[in-house]
Symmetry: C2
Amino acid sequence: MSRHKKQISIRDVAKHAGVGLGTVSRAINNKGSISPKTKAKVLKSIRELGYTPNLVAQSMRSHKYKNIAFFVDLKNPTFSRIAIGICKRLEHEGYTLSLSHIGKENIVPSMESFLSGRRFDGIILAPHRDDDETLNRYLNSLEMPIVTLEHEIAGFSSGVEIDYYSSIKEAMAYLFSIGHKKIALMVGAPQVRSNKSIINAFMDAYAEHELPLNSELIMKGNIDDTYHQQTFNHVIHMIRHQEITAVLCMHNQILQLLLEAMKADQLWFPDDVSLIAMEDYELTQLLNPSVTVIKRSLTEIGEKVADILITAINQPELDPLPPHVIPTQFIIRDSCRPI
Amino acid sequence: MSRHKKQISIRDVAKHAGVGLGTVSRAINNKGSISPKTKAKVLKSIRELGYTPNLVAQSMRSHKYKNIAFFVDLKNPTFSRIAIGICKRLEHEGYTLSLSHIGKENIVPSMESFLSGRRFDGIILAPHRDDDETLNRYLNSLEMPIVTLEHEIAGFSSGVEIDYYSSIKEAMAYLFSIGHKKIALMVGAPQVRSNKSIINAFMDAYAEHELPLNSELIMKGNIDDTYHQQTFNHVIHMIRHQEITAVLCMHNQILQLLLEAMKADQLWFPDDVSLIAMEDYELTQLLNPSVTVIKRSLTEIGEKVADILITAINQPELDPLPPHVIPTQFIIRDSCRPI
DNA sequence: GTGAAAGCGCTAACAT
DNA sequence: ATGTTAGCGCTTTCAC
């Protein structure tokens, strides 16, 4: 209510219930000692008057803001899905989510100006990389619970860890079973725990099938550092010369670039190469043919991240917390064909 | 800063500069009368102390919150793009955007619980329909500047109006020029101003080319009301029997359903039917072949919506404001073929 | 267990 | 033009 409609205040409730200010506060917050009888009386008055505590005033006095800052690049459709989960969980706990769109550059200044003067209880951050020293120093200077998404930054909880291991093993077994022997992997930064499990599973699968694994087949790294045009040219080249017959593309932005490169070169799946992607969204479902994927629940990720942050806020001694482990699922569709 | 690091307050600044509290406040807010000299002195102290006004305290006293509530269904990728524009503009103006994910049902209770106790200066709402009487009554009861997206609700500014007219005419001229004579239109609710311009342009194009327009070729309405499975079955039927040779699909969710239906029926573009879609995003670009589209700038929409809301907040006498008009652009790609 | 009083950091109203 | 005072609505401390 922005325009000055005179709101009912804690004073009105106190008067109506015939008690002191402090007693009403105690009744609202279940804090301090209060007899069940007076508490019931106060609660009744609150109901009758339709009183809602003013969060701004509460924040000012208590230094608790019920407000989380979310720094994210909304261009990435993954994050808007995760945001849904975060929203749900936070609202349920009475927190507000304040959104700030960040790009790849100048993250610290933009965070600084966003946080300046405002009060938050914690931060959820989806950084583009984990080796931005300026950013890492800045985060440490904030002395606030911070949970990261996607990339892990030393000293802070990464809210979740995606357990890709078994799904990758499944996917590889599937590809081997339909005759593939030369499979390439495209994945993000290998420092990321979840990506480690992808790479391990990939290598283990090769080892278990006693197939030789050329290190060239594993492409890994931060998207901006590793995935240049020439990377994709090289992949296209390998596809053309049948040095690979399948690609496991475990990053949705890399997938987009790969598809663009293939399209530019008139290659298509599954005829020219079999494809398994990560993430199940409109694109993988509506492409023709639809794409076989390894799926994780984005809403669940969002919820767990919010959980971790709330715990870190309420029990700072536990911070940083270990990540929640999120399972994945292998879904076969039409983007792979037998050799 | 959540943990109690003792912040510099306006008191410290006043002491440091050797002036009264009020004077510092005046210097910060450029309000009331203050001599340039003392103002400079205060500003210098502020810089030296690294003081930032506490927004929570400012809000509490001034009843201005610098905070906007955004109610939106984040599942729709359009809105996350628009959110980027809103974010940018609001941050620039010193406002925070608080996110609330809403579904199709129970919007009022979820808005109520979100707003309860919190303070916002205004609301941006992307409702799923315009004829939800409960919602409309509720909005009116809020007495707060509200701007809507996509659907227009009586009494409130719809932030923007998309000018599809000329682009649709262009698209139709293009289709006619490559021999199409039976073109279907799929569009959202005809109450929406932007959709009216689509329908008008479509009908005008037919009239100008002196071609008969069967009313069956125009499918319009709210996605939940009009676009049932049988609607798509009917479209598929018309395509199969060459009762139509092209579809103008002006709604991205309808497009998804259409593509699913076509895929299920083994129809594909442009071989079986030519296709022109709305919105330029990953899907339309990465589909093979890529889709000819009518494009609007989503970031611009977001920015304009934020603009309108801020104006409505600062100059309530102007509310509701007329919508900004956003131009569109026709981009030819590979989803149409000559007849 | 409960009421009264102090004060969070600021702006607005009132003095001068 | 500027210093002082009174709260905004609440939680917290301190009496009792």
